[in-house]
Each structure stands twice: as C-alpha cells, then as structure tokens.
Symmetry: C2
Subunit: 346 residues, 2 copies
Amino acid sequence: MLHEVPFEEVLSDLRRLGARRVLIQSPEGLRREAEELAEFLEREGIEAILHGEVNYGACDPADAEAKRLGCDALIHLGHSYMRLSLEVPTIFIPAFARVDVVLALERNLREIKKLGRRIILVTTAQHIHQLRRARAFLEKAGFKVVIGRGDSRVSWPGQVLGCNFSAARLDGDGILFIGAGTFHPLGVALATGKRVLAVNPYSGDALWMDEMAERFIRKRWAQIAKAMDARRFGVVVSTKKGQLRLAEASRIVRLLREHGREAMLIAMDEISYSKLEGFSFDAYVVVACPRVPIDDVENWRKPVLTPPEVEILLGLRTDYKFDEIRGRERDKDEPLGPSVHGPGAR
Amino acid sequence: MLHEVPFEEVLSDLRRLGARRVLIQSPEGLRREAEELAEFLEREGIEAILHGEVNYGACDPADAEAKRLGCDALIHLGHSYMRLSLEVPTIFIPAFARVDVVLALERNLREIKKLGRRIILVTTAQHIHQLRRARAFLEKAGFKVVIGRGDSRVSWPGQVLGCNFSAARLDGDGILFIGAGTFHPLGVALATGKRVLAVNPYSGDALWMDEMAERFIRKRWAQIAKAMDARRFGVVVSTKKGQLRLAEASRIVRLLREHGREAMLIAMDEISYSKLEGFSFDAYVVVACPRVPIDDVENWRKPVLTPPEVEILLGLRTDYKFDEIRGRERDKDEPLGPSVHGPGAR
C-alpha cells in the first residue's frame, strides 16, 4: 500500500538530527515496512526499536515512549504530521495508496453528475497525492470543483479525518468523497448536512450516504435512549496527545452534574470497555477519538455516548451532531513525503 | 480486601502537597474504592480523575499520565512504593487482606514441620502486616524463623514479588510461603532451589511446590525446544517504568546475534501477542514482567521465552533459571499505610 519508504532520505534526516537510537512506530498494515526500515538503519549503525503498540493516526505519536527509551528520534510511519507538541524530533512518513482514483471516477460519472455542478472534493490521506489529477479529470468533465483548506488537524487541502471534516465545509452543491470505508463519508454527510457520494477507488463502487446516515442517526438515538435513566456517568478522556480533550470532558462533567446526574472523569490510553468493567457507572461518554463510541459500541455492555449526544440526552440540543475534533488555523501543507517536526526540526 | 482507605490522611497529604487535581490509579479489585475516594475528594474541592487502565503493580505508576493530564499528584491504590523516579508526587496506599494467616498455619503445622527447624518465611504484600504474628506463632511452635530483608524492589522484609525473590535468599532448611496463587511460591522454589511449602490463608490448604516446579520446567523446556529453529527473534521490552529492562534486552539481542540469529528490539506498554501479529518474527523474548511470557503463553502463536531461557537455547546455560528483576540495596521499610514519594515528598 505504501510507496517505497525512502530509506536514504530517512537516514540523512536522522544523521542531521544526530540520532543514534530511534523508535519506529507503525500502523498494523505497515509492520513489515517498519521491520525493513529497522534492519536498514541497524546496518547503518543506528539502533532501531520497533514500537509494538498498534497505531491508528498521527494523533497518537509515541514521542514520550521514545524519550523514555532513550531514543533521540521517532519515526512515525503511515501518517502525516498533526500539529502537536512533540518531546523528540519526529519524522512523519505518510503512506499513499497505489490505486488509480480516476478510473473509479470515470466509471461513476453518471452518479457524480447527480451531485450538481459545483462539487466539493474530499478524500483521506491515502489518496491525497491524486487529488490534483481527480480535480483535473472532473473539471474536464464540466464540473466546478472546490477544495477546502482544512484546519490544523489535517496536512493537506481536501483531506478529511474520522474526527475532522473542516475541509468539507464549503459552499457547493454536493460532496464527492474518494476513499474506502464508510466512516469518513458518513461523518462528512452528518457534519455538513450535504449530499455525499462516496467513490471507492479499490472496488470502483459509488455509494450515496443518505440512507446510511439516516440509519446511523436512528441507532445513535437508540443509544441515547438507553442512557436516559442512567444516574452515574463515566466521562472518558484519552491520554493520547492528539485526543486529549480535557476541557471538553470537563464541560461534559459539569453539564451532567448541572442536570442532576453524577459524573466522574476517567483517563485511559487505549479505550476499551473491558478495562472499565470493575467500575459502577451506568453509562459512559467517550471524549476522545469519535470512532471509539461509534465503531466499538457492540463491545460495550453499558450505553456509550459522544459529547454532542450528551447534549441531546439533557435536552440541550435537538438536531443530531457528529462528534468532531476541531483544530486551529493551518499554516502550510505537509510535503508528500517525509517531514521532520518537534525539537531540532528545521 | 482492602483495609478502609484512610480518606482523611490522603486528603491531608494532598493538601500539604497543594494538589488541586489528582489521578487515582487502581487494580481491578479496588475499582469501587477508587470511585469512593474520587467522590470524597471532589466533595473536598480536589478534582479527581480515575485512571481507567488496569494496574498490576507499583512497577507501573501512572505518574507520566498524571502529569500529561495536568494533575498535581497521583494516588496509587493497592501497592506500596517501588523505588522508581516519579514525575509527580505520588501517594502509595497498600492493600492488606483481612484473612487471618495464623489459622492456616495452625491447621498445617504437621506439614510445616517437614520443612525442617530453620524456616525462611516469605509472603506477598497483602499479608505482610501479619508477618510478625505468623513469626511469633511459629517460634512458639518451636521453629527458628528467619526473614530476609529483600532488595529495593520490595517494601518490607519477607516480601516477595512475582519478579523478585530477594527476601527468600537466606540460609535455612526450607521456605514457608504464605499467600494465594502458585506463581509466587513457584518462583521462590525455582529461584532458591529450596523446598517450598505454600500455605493459602483463604482456603487453609498447604501445597508443596516440588511437583509443580518440575512440571513447570518441563513445559518451559518444551517452549525452548519450539524456539530452537527460529531465525528471527523479537525481543520485547516494556515502557512501564518498573519493567523497562533495556540493558538486559540489548544484551539478549547481542547474544542472539553473536550466535547467528537475527534479533530486533520491540517496545510495548501492555504486552500482548495480538498486537505483534503483523510482524514477521519466528519467536519472541519478553524482557519485562516475568509473568507475561509464562502466564500468558497460551495466547501466543509463536514461541515466547524469558531471558534466561534464551541462554539455555543458545547453549550458554544448562540449569533452568527463573527470570527475575533484581533491585539495589533497600533503605528503609515502607509504612503499613499511605506513603508519599516523588517530587515534593518529605
């Protein structure tokens, strides 16, 4: 899935940083690439340690772990930089899919036309390097294509995350999402209220998100209903750097208490219900990665809500709102290759 | 299981430390006590956050997590202090079992006599407050009782951990272990080579460890045999402060490489095989808590060894040696109640 990891470029970055020991962090799909990189660096005289924890995004850099292990640098494989304070110099190496997105667009041109003439174009990091080609193709086909800049949580214009749809908030007739999976385009649909067509470049299929969005909202209302009589709420924050929403969690605790419920803050690294089983809470609110209380809901034996769902529960909101982590204004785009951040970065 | 948590004493410690926000860490069995303490502290105007990760010992204090969450202090429930560098002031509150150990000794006096006249007495932290009574009872019954001081990983004379049997290394005819479970007395038997009788104060049963030790060694030899043809070894270290044996792990990597195997360091927090599945290693060595590669072996689909087992594999050792984490010389004993350590401690 990854373009070749540019070994020599990483090596020269590490040499410039004066790194003698480095921690290599990788998502599940890039374990072998991480091993090969480690072997290469060891041959070049740099001690390499593989991070064995699974990583889901740049919101969870292992910089503190690197520091604890005496590493001079961290290599974060598979994701581009997200603006965060880092404890060691970190080389982010994004991963790009090799599939051609234009073929899938060509195949679904008739459906795409139903979006209207002015199309908002969004995608995930894996396909961002083809966004220019996608735009050119669509413009040639007669569309007006707009691409949002996005805030500081994303790296490139047009990029959406499971927790951030800032690049989709533009004026347009409809939204064209390029990528696999349904979580991202669902979030885009719910965050913007616009019609979203998701084109999957692997399968070549196109999917309108309307029906899924409706089904999703019904399910989440059921979850809210299950929590209606809960007296004691555990409000879970993550200690992962890019998911640590303590102010938001404290606000939810305050809201719940003001409305006659008991609430207590709980901090975790990897959030899972099994670790919480010993506590006596009636329901939980996850104020971390928005995917956790949604994708993982089947594994919770107690109701689990997002922050906006608590507002609905307490009667403070009537419309359904998708949980989102917003950034600040974004400075510059990231390169489409390795980039060094944190202390010692140029 | 716990003696009442001394709420007022904890509160006055926190007030002396000037703490306004505190993280409360608890093992699975003390989740309710953690909740009650949190509620008490919140009523007293101190913001409390429950740590949702499960904790197995003082080797894994959540001081760095506390700091990241903006907490001024950490409360570590259920274990006494282990000498480690802490990033925030930490109140350790040991937990003691309420069961009477002397009743079980009385009941098993005939078996205990088979140990010989000079008895080495050891126990786990849960029963340490009754060690004096146990000793008095045994002396009255005609035994000469010796109790080892132990090194800096333990808090009291006579205390053993699953990873440390320093308090059992004394001159004596046999070893009397008081406590539940078989991991600790098994370790004592294997670490000392002495006959061990384990008296369980809950069930009142007594168990000689000889047979279990033999069975254990046979099983571990089978595990070593399974790893014999492995070419590539993943050598796993833990980022938990009190389990971070990086020098030992690097020694194992060097040994393996010197003997023609490939080896790479892997760092993890909670060590479990499922996270490692994407890597291509043929076998693993866990250089962390010695319980992991032993108690959890059924969940590993690749052979998993301890450091001394690697020495056996490579033909550098012929006798079986139980993995152990040794400390330095220990200064003073811990109190049988809360104690404050780390920055700002008196």
